[in-house]
C-alpha cells in the first residue's frame, strides 16, 4: 500500500504546492513545516525548471526566482533529507521530464526512494510515455502520479485503471494559475475515475479560495493549491511561512466542513 494513501485516510486532503528554493531553501523548509503544522496532508514540492511549459505566470516566476537563487536538484534532495527529520506526511516531487532524465533517471528515482519522496508528478509525461520512468519508479517504491484533464474523455478509464498513489485531476484547460471560476463538469469525470479505480483523486489548477477548495473537495478526495501559495511567497519572501500557515489552515478548515 502506497504511503500516499495515508494523506487521504483522515478525510479530505489538502495538498499545497511549493517551488523549492523560492526565494531560498531555508524559506521553503519553513513554509513546508508551517503548512504541515496547519493541516497539510501531502506536500507537493516543485523542482524548478527553466522552461515550465505547464505553468502560468505565477509559478513560472517562482521557478525563475528559485533558479536565480541557486536551486539545483542536488540542493532540493538535501532539503528533503532535512525535512524528513521531522515531517512525516507524504511528499511528492513535481517537475519536468528533463529534470529527471538529465540527472540520470535511475540516479534520480533511487534518490527519491532513499530520501523519502513518495511520488513523482511530471506534467509532460503522459500515459503513452510513462514507460520512460515507470519501471524505475516501481523498483524504488516511488508512485508515478497520473494526471487526468478536462479533455481526457475516452482516456479517463485507461489512465485511471493503471494509476497509482493518487490521481491529479486538472480542473481546467490551460496552465496553472488562479481562476475566478471553474467551469469543467468535474463530477462526471470523477464518476468515471471511481468506476475504474479505488485510489484517491485530488483536484488542482485554478483553486485559490476556501470556497473553491470546499467545492472541489465535496466532489473529490482533496484539493491541490499552488499559485495562491506562491503568490504569498512572492509578496512576503522570507516572511512567508506564517502567512502560508494561516492560509493552509483556512483551506483545510474549509474542506473539512
Amino acid at each position: 500500500m502506497s504511503k500516499i494513501a495515508n494523506a487521504f485516510a483522515g478525510g479530505k486532503a489538502f495538498i499545497p504546492f511549493i517551488t523549492c528554493g523560492d526565494p531560498d531553501m531555508e524559506t521553503t523548509a519553513a513554509v513546508v513545516r508551517a503548512a504541515v503544522a496547519n493541516g497539510a496532508d501531502l506536500i507537493e514540492l516543485g523542482i524548478p525548471f527553466s522552461d515550465p511549459t505547464a505553468e502560468g505566470p505565477v509559478i513560472q516566476g517562482a521557478n525563475l526566482r528559485a533558479l536565480e537563487g541557486g536551486a539545483t536538484t542536488d540542493r532540493v534532495f538535501e532539503l528533503v533529507k532535512d525535512l524528513r527529520r521531522d515531517v512525516s506526511v507524504p511528499m511528492v516531487f513535481m517537475t519536468y521530464a528533463n529534470v529527471v532524465f538529465s540527472y540520470g533517471a535511475e540516479k534520480f528515482i533511487s534518490a527519491c526512494g532513499e530520501i523519502g519522496i513518495d511520488g513523482l508528478i511530471l506534467p509532460d509525461l503522459p500515459f503513452e510515455e510513462k514507460e520512460e520512468f515507470l519501471p524505475l519508479c516501481h523498483e524504488y517504491g516511488v508512485d508515478l502520479i497520473s494526471l487526468i484533464a478536462p479533455t481526457s474523455e475516452n482516456r479517463i478509464a485507461m489512465i485511471a485503471r493503471e494509476a497509482e498513489g493518487f490521481i491529479y485531476l486538472v480542473s481546467s484547460l490551460g496552465v496553472t494559475g488562479m481562476r475566478s471560476e471553474i467551469k469543467t463538469d468535474l463530477a462526471s469525470i470523477v464518476a468515471v475515475i471511481r468506476e475504474n479505480t479505488t485510489i484517491p483523486c485530488a483536484i488542482g489548477f485554478g483553486i485559490s479560495t476556501p470556497e473553491q477548495a470546499r467545492k472541489m473537495a465535496v466532489i473529490s478526495d482533496g484539493a491541490i493549491v499552488g499559485s495562491a501559495i506562491i503568490r504569498l511567497l512572492e509578496q512576503h519572501g522570507k516572511d512567508a511561512p506564517s502567512y502560508v500557515g494561516e492560509y493552509v489552515k483556512s483551506m483545510k478548515d474549509a474542506i473539512s466542513e
Binding site: 525548471f49 527553466s50 522552461d51 511549459t53 505547464a54 502560468g56 505566470p57 513560472q60 533558479l67 539545483t72 536538484t73 542536488d74 519536468y96 521530464a97 528533463n98 529534470v99 529527471v100 532524465f101 538529465s102 540527472y103 506534467p123 509532460d124 509525461l125 503522459p126 500515459f127 503513452e128 510515455e129 520512460e132 494526471l147 487526468i148 484533464a149 478536462p150 479533455t151 481526457s152 474523455e153 475516452n154 482516456r155 489512465i159 486538472v170 484547460l173 490551460g174 496552465v175
Partner: protein, 396 residues
C-alpha cells in the same frame, strides 16, 4: 522511418501535458487520412504551384562555382517562394489540414518571423483567425516581419519570458494551445515538438528534396554529391535531405548556428554542444546544463536561435547518415555578403550558414563533384541586423 509512437531511434515521442493528448491523437488520425486523400493532395498541389510558386528553381551558381574553384554549385531557391522562405510549404499543408479538421484558428510560434508570416498568410488566404507568438527580443530584431504579420491580419504577441526568443515563443504557443483546443490548430513551424509534428512537417517540406532530385536528374543526369542546409529545428534541412536518405552516396550536411563559437556559451549549435534530453514534447539533443535546465542559446540568426533540434536529425546524426557542422556568426555574415556580391542573391542569415559551409567544402572537392545548397529564405528581413553587426545603423 516513423514507428507508431513517432520515434526516430530513441528520439521523438509525445512528452506533452495530458490536456493536449487527444488533440495530437486527433491530428494524427486526420493526417493519416488526408495524406492519402487524392482531393487533399490535389488541393495542396494547386496551392504549392499556383499560390506559392513551386517548383522552386534549382539554379546553377556559375560565378560562385568559378570563384571557389572546386565542386559545381547549385542553389535550391526556396527564397523565391511566396512569403520568401520554405516555411510556406509546411504552413499551406497544415492550414489546409486544419481547415479540413474544422479548425477556425491558427496559432504559431516564430523566431525570425518567417514562419509567423507564412502562417499569417495562409490564415488570410483560408479565412482563419491567426495569433503568432514571438520572443520580444525577436520582435525587435525582426520588426519588419512583425509589421507584415499584422498587415496580414494576424495578432502578434511578444513573449517576455525566459530569453524572449524562439524557445519561449514555442513554450507560450504550447501554453495557449492547452487553454484553447477545440477551434485551434497549433501550426508548428519546424520538424520538432511532439509526434505527429516532426513527421507532418517533414512530409510537407519533403517537396524540396523531391524537386531537387528531379531537377538534378534532368540537368545533370545524376544525383548530387552533397546537399547542404541550415538547421535550427531543422525543417528546411530535413525537407532537403528526405528523398536522399536512401541514396548513401549523397552526403547530407546540416549547418547549425555556432553563434560566437561552440567553445563559448553564446552558441545555438545543439548537436555539437548539446546532449539528449526531453523538452518541447520530444526526446532529442538539447543545449542544457548538468541538471537539465535548458540553456539560454544565442545566434545572430533569430531562426536558428533554438536550444533543440528535430528528432529525425538527432537520429540521422546517431546513425551517421547526416553530418552536422557549426558555423559562427562571422562566417555566416561573410557568406551573406559573399552570395549577395557574387550571385546577386541576398540569402536569409539562416541560409547563409549553409552557404558558409559550402564555401569551405567546395574548394576541397574536384570540379566534377556537385553540391546543392538550399537557400531556405531571402535576406531582406536581415539587412538592418547585418548592417548593425557591421557597425552601420540604418533605419527601416
Amino acid at each position: 522511418m516513423t514507428n507508431p509512437k513517432g520515434r526516430f531511434g530513441i528520439h521523438g515521442g509525445q512528452y506533452i501535458p495530458e490536456t493536449l493528448m487527444n488533440a495530437v491523437i486527433e491530428l494524427e488520425e486526420a493526417y493519416n487520412f488526408y495524406k492519402n486523400d487524392p482531393q487533399f493532395n490535389a488541393e495542396l498541389s494547386e496551392l504549392f504551384n499556383e499560390y506559392a510558386g513551386r517548383p522552386s528553381r534549382l539554379y546553377h551558381a556559375a560565378k560562385m562555382t568559378e570563384d571557389l574553384g572546386g565542386a559545381k554549385i547549385y542553389l535550391k531557391r526556396e527564397d523565391l517562394n511566396h512569403t520568401g522562405a520554405h516555411k510556406i510549404n509546411n504552413v499551406l499543408g497544415q492550414a489546409l489540414l486544419a481547415k479540413k479538421m474544422g479548425k477556425t484558428r491558427l496559432i504559431a510560434e516564430t523566431g525570425a518571423g518567417q514562419h509567423g508570416v507564412a502562417t499569417a498568410t495562409a490564415a488570410a488566404l483560408m479565412g482563419m483567425e491567426c495569433v503568432v507568438f514571438m520572443g520580444e527580443q525577436d520582435t525587435k530584431r525582426q520588426a519588419l516581419n512583425v509589421y507584415r504579420m499584422k498587415l496580414l491580419g494576424a495578432e502578434v504577441i511578444p513573449v517576455k519570458t525566459g530569453t524572449a526568443t524562439l524557445k519561449d515563443a514555442v513554450s507560450e504557443a504550447m501554453r495557449e494551445w492547452t487553454s484553447r483546443i477545440a477551434d485551434t490548430h497549433y501550426c508548428l513551424g519546424s520538424v520538432m515538438g511532439p509526434h505527429p509534428f516532426p513527421t507532418i512537417v517533414r512530409d510537407f517540406q519533403a517537396v524540396i528534396s523531391k524537386e531537387i532530385k528531379e531537377q538534378m536528374l534532368r540537368k545533370e543526369g545524376r544525383l548530387p554529391d552533397a546537399v547542404i542546409a541550415c538547421v535550427g529545428g531543422g525543417s528546411n534541412a530535413i525537407g532537403s535531405f528526405y528523398h536522399f536518405i536512401g541514396d548513401k552516396d549523397v552526403r547530407l550536411i546540416g549547418c547549425e548556428a555556432a553563434g560566437r563559437g561552440i567553445d563559448t556559451f553564446e552558441t545555438a549549435a545543439t548537436i555539437s554542444t548539446g546532449r539528449v534530453g526531453i523538452f518541447h514534447g520530444m526526446k532529442s539533443y538539447f543545449c542544457q546544463d548538468k541538471f537539465g535546465q535548458i540553456a539560454p542559446v544565442y545566434s545572430i540568426s533569430a531562426g536558428l536561435d533554438y536550444p533543440g533540434v528535430g528528432p529525425e536529425h538527432a537520429y540521422l546524426h546517431d546513425i551517421g547518415r547526416a553530418e552536422y557542422v557549426a558555423i559562427t556568426d562571422e562566417e555566416a555574415v561573410q557568406a551573406f555578403e559573399y552570395l549577395a556580391r557574387t550571385e546577386g542573391i541576398i540569402p536569409a542569415i539562416e541560409s547563409a550558414h549553409a552557404v558558409a559551409y559550402a564555401m569551405k567544402l567546395a574548394p576541397t572537392l574536384a570540379k566534377d563533384r556537385i553540391i546543392v545548397i538550399t537557400v531556405s529564405g531571402r535576406g531582406d528581413k536581415d539587412c538592418a541586423a547585418i548592417a548593425r553587426y557591421r557597425g552601420e545603423d540604418i533605419h527601416e
